[in-house]
Amino acid sequence: MTIEKTEKKRIPLKEGLFDIEKGRLTGSKCPQCGQYFFPKRHVCLNCFHRDLEDVDLSTRGKIDTYTISRMVLPGSVMKEAPYGIALVLLPEGAIVQTVLTDCDVESISIGMEVELVIRKVEEDEEGNEVMAYFFRPVKGGSS
C-alpha cells in the first residue's frame, strides 16, 4: 500500500497572469507590429493582428499614474488600507495595473522605479499557497 504524498502547492490567485516558477508576468507580443500587452490578449490593439505570442515581461518599470486607496474592496489582495495602486509602465511598453507593497504611501510619485514581487496572499481550504503579484519601490531607484 502506498500513502499519497501531499505537499503544499503554490497556485496563482488568477490563472494566466504570471508564471510562479519564473517569477515573471506573462504578457503578449504582437508578431506583426511588435506591441506588448499585459495581461495576455487574443487581438492586437494596435494593428488588430490575431495570433499574439506569450512572452515573459520585464520585472521593473516606472509608475505612470497612481492613487492611494483608503478603503479595502472585498476580493482585493490588500486586506488593510491605505495602500497605493498604480499603473506601471514596463520598458517594452506594456502597462500593468498593480497594488504597491512594502512602501510608505506618502512617498509614491509618478516616475518612481518599481519592481515585481510575487507573494503568498492566503492559503486555500486544501492548504495550497495562493500567490498574487505586486510591485514595490526599487531600493535606491529614482523617484
Binding site: 488568477k14 492613487t67 492611494i68 495595473q97
Partner: protein, 423 residues
Amino acid sequence: MIKKARKLGRGVAIVGAGMSKFGTFRGMSGRDLVVEAFKEMRASVDKGFDPNDIEALYVGNLSSDLFEGQAHTAPIIADWLGMIPKPATRIEDACASSGVALREGIIAIASGLYDIVLVAGVEKMTDLPTERVTDTLAAAADAIYELPAGFTFPGLYAAIATAHMKKYGTKIEHFMKVAIKNHDNGALNPKAQFNSSIRDIMASRMKKAEERGQPVPAWRDEMDFLNDPQANPIIAWPMRLFDCSPITDGAACILLAAEEIAKNFTDNPIYIIGAGQASDVALHQREDLTSITAAKVAAQQAYEMAGVKPQDIQIAEVHDCFTIAEIVATEDLGFFNPGEAPKAVEDGIMARDGAKPINTSGGLKSKGHPVGASGAGQVVEIWSQMRGEAGARQVRGKDITLALTHNVGATGGTCVVHIYERR
C-alpha cells in the same frame, strides 16, 4: 474599415419625461420606482395619451440581479406598468445602461418598427450594505484583472485625476469647485438626493454639534469645509468623499414618438437630432488617461449626425460620477480644450448663470446616481430646461434650443451621447 456618415431612418422626438425622487427608499422595489417615474412622465404629456398605445419597453438597469436578487427584470416592469404583452428588453452597459436604452428606443422607432416607445432606467441600490454595493459596482470592472489589483471605481477615477493633475497642473481645489457648483444646483432640485448646498450641509452640521454640546467646527467657507479631513475624508487620493456620487435608489421614464406623430402628444416636443455610442478598452490599455476616447468618438458621431459643433450646445448634463469625471467630460465633448476645464470651473463658466451651464440638475454628484437610471434622469433635466419648466433652477437669459447628454459606463468602456433640439 468602412467609414460612413450615420443618420436615423426617420426623426424621433421626446414627448414626455418624468422621474421618481432620487434618494433612499426602504421598502420600495425597483419596479415601484419605475411606476412613480411613469406617473410623472404620463402627467408631462401635454395632450395626454393612452398607455395602451406604447408598443415596446426598453429598460436600462445595471444589476437588479445583485442589488435586488431579481433577474429578468424588464417583463416584470412591463407587467407592473400594465404593458403585457408588449415586448420588454433590459439593456445593461453599467452606468450608461439607460443612455443606451434610450439609444435602442430611438433606433427602434427610426427603423420604422414602432411609432411609440417607452424608455425607462432604474436602480434600487440601498437594500445592500455599502461594502456589497461597492462589490456589485466593481463587477462592472474587469473581474479577472482589475479587481485583484485593488482598483475600485473611486480608485480608477482617482488614477485619472492624478494623471490630469500631472499633465495639466489641475488642483484639488478644482475638483472641490465642481462639487460646490453641483450641490448649488441640486439645492434647487426637489428630486435631488442631496437637496442642499455645501453651505447648507455645513450649517446643519454646526447646528447639530451645538445641539449635542460638542465643539462647533469653525469652517470659514466651503473650501475650508472641504479641506477638513474630518468632514471630507479621502476615499482614494486625490478623490475625497465630496468628490464621489452617492449610492441612490431611483427611476426615470421617457416617452419617444416618431417625429411625424409627435405633435399628437405635445406642441412642444424635443427632437433627438444626434446620437453616438462607442466602446473602449480597460483603463490600463489606454494611451492617455486624461481623456476618455469612447466619449470623444461618441460625441463626434452625435455632432456629425446633428450637424452642430460643441460651441453650439447651450446646456449639457454630463456624467459626473466623480468630480474629475465632469472635468474630463467637458474636455472630451469639445466644450473646452484639453486641460482648460479646471479654469472654466474656476471662472464660473459651467455655473447655472455661466456661459455653458453644466449639470443644472445637480448632476450625479448631488441629484444622486442610481446607476441604471442616471442616463434617463439626465434626459428628464434637459426636457425640463428646454421647455422652460425647471422652476427655481431654470437657466435664465437663454432660449435653449440645443442641448446634450453624456452618459458613461464604468470608466469609459461605454459612452453614449445624445443631442436635442427644440424647434
